[in-house]
Each structure stands twice: as structure tokens, then as C-alpha cells.
Subunit: 231 residues, 2 copies
Amino acid sequence: MTETSETTRYTVAVIGGTGPQGKGLGYRFARHGHDIVLGSRAAEKAEVVATEVNDRLADVAGAGTARGLANADAVAAADVVLLAVPYDGHDELVASLPLAGKTVISCVNPLAFDKRGAHGKVINNGEGSAAESAAELQPEATVVGAFHNVAAPALWSEDEFLDEDVIVVGDSVEGKQVAIDLAASVTGRPGVDGGKLRLARVLEPFTAVLISINRKYKTHSGIRVTGLDAH
Amino acid sequence: MTETSETTRYTVAVIGGTGPQGKGLGYRFARHGHDIVLGSRAAEKAEVVATEVNDRLADVAGAGTARGLANADAVAAADVVLLAVPYDGHDELVASLPLAGKTVISCVNPLAFDKRGAHGKVINNGEGSAAESAAELQPEATVVGAFHNVAAPALWSEDEFLDEDVIVVGDSVEGKQVAIDLAASVTGRPGVDGGKLRLARVLEPFTAVLISINRKYKTHSGIRVTGLDAH
């Protein structure tokens, strides 16, 4: 992480910004100086949550600002877009947004649940992921995957940072750097470059493992990458 | 982990016991008091590696013993079998072994490599894994998945324990407990119950993410599960 990237202040549109993951990540970004534009189907709903975030950050020195807009307007107001939407309806929504030219970070987890617990939905016969679908639907966007495995309740907590790592995958070095920078708002250290976009096929369903662990051990688990002391 | 399971001394047959993963895990198990039977196609080759392990453990108080046998004989000599074989030829080998009634731990990673790096092989159109294949081929064995993500060079090092967690998946609580116990030989703490066997679909290709991280950061990375301080 260079000094330049450490001090970059981003404006991030959070699509799905009123859901727990989007609201929680947006709060973390804004808490550490980035500006966020929460997007929702209804601008009014996004404005309510933006006010909630701003109220929470009123006493935090150096915090960024939150505002709420309808999804497409939120995208238009930012260069970086976080997709934090449910997988149901994901493809239609992503296709409908003006994402050309944007850096798009997908934290979408295509999961299914049955009596045996959580597991990954099979996409494109095992050769796809939500992040890859977004990249195919929006060929002029730079799509990366990140923030799949952070638990929403921990994001909305008062803890300064979460004790875990954010793994970032993508086919664009510049795109990954944005997510690597933003990860520091969540974990206190840069995100970990985990390789190419197709490895989102692993990061997305890994959340099912964490959900299983959470159920068994009554906790909010995360993952930390060991062996990286020097980075 | 109960006091009973903490003190259980297992005899573990390691199929693929002359490869780096099998040899390294066998060494760890024996170093912490379990007996190992390294299996190979040729018994002589397994004996050579067993001698190497025994020599290394000569000064370790409480260490178990290592011996080498042909694969099928190694299986016959143990109640617990670690499958540490390459994915190429995996199904044929597993089908050929006398695994009925055994607890079988698969650490097999079906990976492919191309110019974009490592990635997971697609098994059964995304609805399979090496561990599930083993369970289907050996319906009278108790198959669990574990030890997928530990790096072979770290296993064969002099470090007392590896700074990472072993995640265990399986459909049998008793079968998982064996791997959870054995994990303590590697990491210094019990393995983490990660849910049902089908989640091996995630743990196996996760190794591709770690390989990507290793290449980028010039390290031997592992994963640690956070949020489990109490367990």
C-alpha cells in the first residue's frame, strides 16, 4: 500500500445500501473518511439510512459523509460502486445500472439454505460467480470481488476494526487496489490480493463455511490470512 | 475438545505418504504422539520416508512411530486413513483401497493451473468435490475433509506449530472429531468444525487463493478463523 493510496478519499456508491451488509460496509468506509452514497430502490429509504449513518458518525473526527439516492443516481454520483445486493435479482439489477467506466466491487454471496445448512449456489455449472456475472453483464466496468466474508453485525458494531482480513480478487490491478485501500477502513490494514476474478467462485461460497461455524460456535467468525506479517 | 479426545493416540495410515503433503502431515501427527503408517505404491519407497521421519523424531519426547507399507497394507493397519494423493488418479485409487469401516480424512485439492494461475477443477458440474467423490466411492467409510490449506514446506519445518487453523467438514460428528483432534498436532489447537461434507467444495479450491497469495507476497500463507477465542 503506497502513501498515496493510504490517503485516497473515495466516494463509494453502495447498491443495497439499506441492507445489513451494505449499510455496515458504508458505515465503515465513512467512519474512516470516505464519502458514501447509499443506493436503494426508493431514494427516501436510502436517505433514512444515510441519516442514521451520519448521526452515528457525528462525533467521529475525519469521518466522511453519507447521503441516500435511488440506485442509478447513486451510481452516477460515484466512481466506485459496491454491489451489496441479494443474489436473487442480482443479474437484472446489475444489467440495469449505469456501471460503464466504474470500479465495481462485488461482495455478493450466492448462497442457498436447506436442512443441512448454508451452501453455495452453483453458477454456470461451477464455472461462474456473482462477480463474474457482473463483469459479463457490464463489460465496460472494472469488476473486482471483496468483502464477502465480513459479518454484518460486526460491521455495525462500535469496534474500531474487525479482526479479520479482506481478500480481494480481480483481473485489474487498479481495480483491486481500490478495494485493497477500502479494506483498511474495515480491518485496519490493506486488503489481501487473492488473485484473479474467477477465484470469486471460492470466496463467495466460503461464507457458507463461516455461517456453519457461527451456528456451531455461537460467534461471528471471519478469516485472517496468516504468513503476511511483512505486507 | 474433551479431555478424552485430547489424549487419544491414533494410528493413521497416510496414503500418498511419500508426497510432500502426506509426509509433512504424517510427521506432524507422529511428532505429537500418534503412530503413522506411510503408504505408497511401493512399500520400499514408503519405508525410506518412514525412516526419514523416525530419524527426525529421534530426540522428540513422546513422539509416535512411523513405518512404511504398500497403500492397501497401510490402510489395513490403521483405523484412520489420510488421503493425501494428487487428484489425478484419485478416484481409481480410492475405489481400490479397503476403506470400509475406516475414518477417512481427505485433504485432496483438485486444482488446475494455467497462465492465469491456480484455480479449482470443476467436479460434477460444481456439485462435487474430491471428498464427496471418496464418500460416494466408499459408502461404508466415514469420509471427512480437512487439512486442505496447510502448506507442505511449513509442515516439514522445525516450527512447533503452524499459525493457522484446520477447518474440518463432514457428515459424521464422530468422523469430524478425529480430524479435529489430529489438527491439534499441526496447529496446537483443535480443528474448527466447518459444517457438512459438501462444503469441501469450498475448502478444496480455497487452496488456489492461498497459492495466488503466496505467489504475490512470497510467503506460505494459511487461514485462521477469527472470533473463536473461547473454543
